[in-house]
């Protein structure tokens, strides 16, 4: 029975550790927003500078239809975007990995006394708040990933279409609506699995919240009598 209790407590504490990591994703959202905003500013400055240069200084053409400035701006923008997205993902990963977990293991090794101590030390309101933050964080993260793929798709399609027009390879002006729709379809197709995973995770957290609320309320009211 003592082994059973330890096992059940381990399940609970592992779940709470996972909640801590998810909550860290929510806390990282502002960092991600800053990194992505800075990336957007960098790309816009690059594109605007390139366009201004093209208009005021002319376009240097080398063997037919080659426009090195467009390629520079296009490839530069793509590199900046890749760097920005990589930076954002790295930031989240580093913060999540820095979360201290498993600190309860040595106490739980004591058996039932350890379980009692750990149960007594749980701060339920903080746990419930963490679960709510975790749900929000996971949802935002899922949508953000899809949004980033959409933005990246828009930029790539726009830059290459623009380069083809400037290079006189195609004669259709850039159509922003067509680009946005094509990128959205691509983004939804690529992030479909990830979005489903996030949906399931949020559902699991909901279940955990309900279970723990029940446990907290029942355990508080319960009266141990020998």
């Amino acid at each position: 029975m003592e082994q059973q209790l330890s096992s059940k407590m381990e399940e609970l504490l592992r779940a709470l550790d996972q909640v801590k990591k998810y909550r860290e994703i929510a806390a990282s959202m502002i960092d991600i927003a800053i990194i992505l905003s800075a990336t957007t500013v960098a790309v816009l400055v690059l594109v605007i500078s390139g366009n201004l240069w093209t208009i005021f200084n002319g376009v240097t053409t080398i063997p037919e239809n080659h426009l090195p400035l467009s390629a520079l701006v296009g490839n530069g923008s793509i590199l900046v975007i890749i760097a920005g997205i990589t930076g954002a993902i790295l930031r989240v990963t580093l913060r999540v990995n820095a979360v201290k977990v498993g600190q309860w293991k040595s106490i739980l090794n004591e058996g039932a006394p350890g379980a009692i101590k750990l149960l007594a030390e749980l701060k339920w309101e903080t746990i419930f708040k963490d679960i709510r933050s975790a749900k929000l964080g996971l949802s935002l993260y899922g949508f953000l990933k899809t949004f980033l793929i959409w933005v990246f798709g828009n930029v790539i399609l726009f830059l290459y279409w623009d380069a083809l027009v400037k290079g006189n390879i195609i004669h259709l002006s850039v159509n922003p609506i067509a680009i946005m729709i094509a990128s959205l379809l691509l983004a939804l197709a690529l992030s479909n699995r990830d979005l489903r995973k996030r949906y399931e995770q949020v559902g699991h957290l909901d279940s955990l919240l309900w279970e723990l609320r029940w446990f907290d309320s029942e355990f508080r009211r319960a009266d141990f009598k020998t």
Binding site: L5, A112, H204, E211, L212
Partner: protein, 95 residues
């Protein structure tokens, strides 16, 4: 303050630890019990006074401490009681 004066609000964790050690080692003197449970001697004495009053532990003629039947049963009941609640919680698979 008399070091043998019982405590008013016992820590369930400490009581559980003392009972667990005594279950494993059957009989111990106070000093060894304090070392095994990681408690200070004075604190252990207070807890033993409380536990003795509740008939969870007894002392023999050599002043060694041992667990009573009530003490052993109480521990098992405590584990069972906690498991009654913790055992009902279903944990979803979080990845």
């Amino acid at each position: 303050m008399n070091s043998e004066e019982p405590i008013s609000k016992p820590d369930l964790y400490v009581i559980a630890r003392v009972i667990k050690i005594l279950k494993e080692r059957k009989k111990l003197n106070r000093t060894t019990l304090a070392t095994s449970t990681g408690l200070s001697y004075d604190r252990l004495v207070k807890y033993l006074a409380w536990m003795s009053e509740k008939r969870l532990v007894q002392f023999d003629s050599d002043d060694n401490v041992f667990l009573t039947e009530l003490g052993a049963d109480t521990y098992d009941e405590l584990v069972k009681w906690i498991l009654q609640y913790v055992g009902k919680v279903r944990f979803p698979k979080l990845t």
